[in-house]
């Protein structure tokens, strides 16, 4: 109904292959970016930043990473929590070891470290598939958490076993630590998300994206036409862990400030990430954002509803919240197994075909 595509024709392959081929969608996207970068920072207060925006951005990054592995390459992983922990601890060690280094590079480097660890735990994927691989990643989850718990070197022998993020600046603006301004942390995370979303878009549109999807759809046929399974799967694990590592570093340094490994990066984080990817939509970048938004905003909304307006005790609210999340996941899997992204695609297709039926 809202689409007027008539007259919008492509004269080059670059145009035909661009991210937003339909003109009205290009304007919509760049408008949203303008608002996100230039308008929101002025209105963000610490409540909104701490409980909604920063978690949304960080979790979108993590969900994007997992989507590359599970959505595009078809390798199920339950180790997201541990890989976030690797990112967080790498970031902590780098911050404490090289105070001079800018937080931007610290986060990128910790992503790199996680990528290496990810590849290591991706090796089993060459021989085993499906549930068995999920169990292998579970092994990574429990093993890594145990390692960060057991060897004090990781948390610089601090008594409580916790790691806290010292204050760091980017271009002179404080970004981590207690007195970081809300808009600074927001913009910092937003830039990261923008860069990585753009990177994910580029990786999944060309040869690399297609080899991942080929492995996902039918790995025997993919191998026969020339996709090397080792390189494809390991590159998927590496790139996915790189994203999750950066997400973990930001999760620790900007969002939490201080973290205790078993509590902050437990198995529930892995499940949460997997829910985001499934509900958001496997194999879609937009799906990662929609999934993250859904699972970050929904608890906040429920908390306000139950505790805020109905005044119930927090534990009852928490239980109902878990029940509702479980129930909604089942509901989504029944109604639209391909997630919110598919719902968005269907509505878009219906609007383009309007008034004709889909």
């Amino acid at each position: 109904m809202l689409y007027r595509e008539a007259g919008d024709f492509k004269t080059t392959y670059r145009e035909d292959n661009q991210t937003f081929p339909i003109k009205s969608e290009r304007y919509l996207f760049w408008g949203a970016m303008l608002i996100a970068f230039c308008v929101v920072p002025f209105f963000v207060n610490s409540y909104w930043e701490k409980s909604v925006l920063v978690p949304l951005l960080v979790w979108s990054l993590v969900a994007l990473g997992l989507n590359i592995l599970t959505g595009y390459c078809g390798q199920v992983s339950l180790g997201t929590g541990a890989f976030m922990a690797v990112g967080a601890f790498a970031c902590y060690k780098l911050m404490t070891a090289f105070p001079g280094m800018s937080i931007f590079f610290v986060v990128i480097l910790s992503g790199g470290v996680t990528a290496l660890v990810g590849m290591l735990f991706g090796l089993p994927s060459l021989r085993i598939k499906g549930f068995y691989l999920a169990v292998a990643t579970l092994a990574a989850q429990f093993f890594l958490i145990w390692v960060f718990n057991k060897f004090a070197w990781f948390y610089n022998y601090s008594a409580s076993g916790q790691i806290t993020a010292p204050e760091r600046t980017v271009f002179g603006i404080i970004v981590t630590g207690p007195n970081a301004a809300p808009w600074a942390t927001y913009l910092f995370c937003l830039t990261f998300l923008f860069i990585f979303a753009w990177l994910a878009r580029n990786l999944t549109r060309g040869r690399i994206g297609r080899s991942w999807m080929a492995i996902r759809d039918m790995d025997i046929a993919a191998e026969i036409i020339g996709v090397e399974p080792l390189r494809a799967k390991l590159s998927a694990f590496a790139m996915s862990s790189f994203f999750i590592g950066v997400g973990g570093a930001l999760f620790f340094s900007v969002y939490l400030g201080a973290a205790e490994v078993t509590e902050a990066f437990g198995i529930d984080k892995s499940f949460l990430a997997l829910f985001m990817v499934i509900i958001g939509g496997l194999g879609s970048i937009l799906g990662s954002f929609l999934g993250a938004a859904f699972l970050v905003l929904m608890p906040v909304f429920l908390k306000n509803l139950f505790v805020g307006s109905l005044g119930w005790p927090t534990d009852v609210a928490a239980h109902i919240q878990i029940m509702l999340i479980g129930g909604l996941i089942i509901f989504f899997l029944i109604v639209e197994p391909h997630g919110l992204a598919q719902l968005w695609r269907l509505t878009k297709e219906k609007l383009r075909l309007w008034p004709f039926p889909y």
Binding site: T11, G206, R210, S211, M213, M218, E223, I224, V227
Partner: protein
């Protein structure tokens, strides 16, 4: 004003020439035997495929045709026997390495990537020819995008050749059977193969679709000089299209030669008419 693509239809713009003259031996299999845990699929089969010819492999169901095809493209490694491709004796390789050497194939029951559109499926055929690494793809604008456009042009020529412009952007899951077979042929052609293995390309097709597919196979062979190994049941098609025929039965070779020689070979007639077969 955008630059015009090279209009010439030559597909072999990217693959290095292998220096074998037309008619010379491209692939030779000697005394191949293959068994799956005791079950003998192929016993002691030898034959060759010359460059530029259409070589048919025929035989009743379960004669070992598809298994032989899987041996040629490295999916199974035979217990005994040797394979020489382009003069090089092949050691134990992974299937994706044979794809790089220039062997492409279609599958008996369609193996398309359901999650992608027709265009993307055919583009995956180009994977062995694309060089840009992860870094350039991350950056995208620049060399990676140029390479992508260059390969898109080659794929568009194939889409034009197979006359499937109207389904370029449809997910393959939604296509009818005949068109899916054509997309799969497109994907195999996109790899610009030296040897193209077709596993029953016309199974389940009506007469008109069969004629189209035969025309495409002949054009591929004549226009691009691609050597084709064809597995097919329809004797009419085999006799028209192929230059030479190998006949397999119960995993053994019972006939080899031109279509006419094979038609009058008594063993072949027996195999097809179901004369009782004394156990090996």
């Amino acid at each position: 004003m955008n630059v015009h693509m090279r209009e010439d239809m030559s597909l072999h713009s990217m693959r290095a020439d292998d220096g074998i003259a037309k008619g010379e031996e491209l692939l030779k299999v000697d005394n191949i035997s293959l068994s799956f845990g005791g079950v003998k699929a192929i016993t002691d089969i030898s034959f060759d495929i010359r460059k530029g010819e259409i070589r048919a492999i025929i035989g009743p169901n379960g004669a070992g045709k598809t298994s032989m095809l899987n041996v040629i493209n490295g999916f199974y490694y035979p217990q005994e026997g040797t394979i020489t491709f382009r003069g090089k004796r092949r050691r134990r390789v992974r299937p994706h390495e044979t794809a790089r050497e220039g062997i492409a194939r279609t599958f008996q029951n369609i193996a398309l990537f359901k999650g992608m559109s027709t265009l993307d499926n055919i583009m995956t055929g180009r994977i062995t020819l694309q060089k840009r690494n992860m870094f350039w793809h991350g950056l995208w604008t620049g060399p990676a995008e140029r390479e992508e456009i260059e390969h898109r042009e080659a794929v568009e020529r194939i889409i034009d050749f197979l006359e499937i412009e109207h389904i370029r952007k449809t997910p393959v899951g939604r296509l009818p059977y005949g068109l899916q077979k054509r997309v799969e042929l497109g994907r195999a052609l996109a790899a610009e193969p030296a040897l193209l293995l077709l596993d029953e390309p016309m199974a389940g097709m009506n007469l008109e679709e069969k004629e189209d597919m035969s025309r495409f196979i002949l054009d591929v062979n004549q226009q691009y000089g691609t050597t084709i190994a064809l597995i097919e049941h329809d004797m009419g098609v085999v006799m028209d299209l192929s230059d030479r025929v190998v006949v397999l039965d119960y995993g053994k070779k019972i006939g080899d030669g031109t279509p006419d020689e094979v038609r009058n070979n008594q063993d072949v007639i027996d195999a097809y008419l179901g004369v009782p077969h004394e156990e090996a």
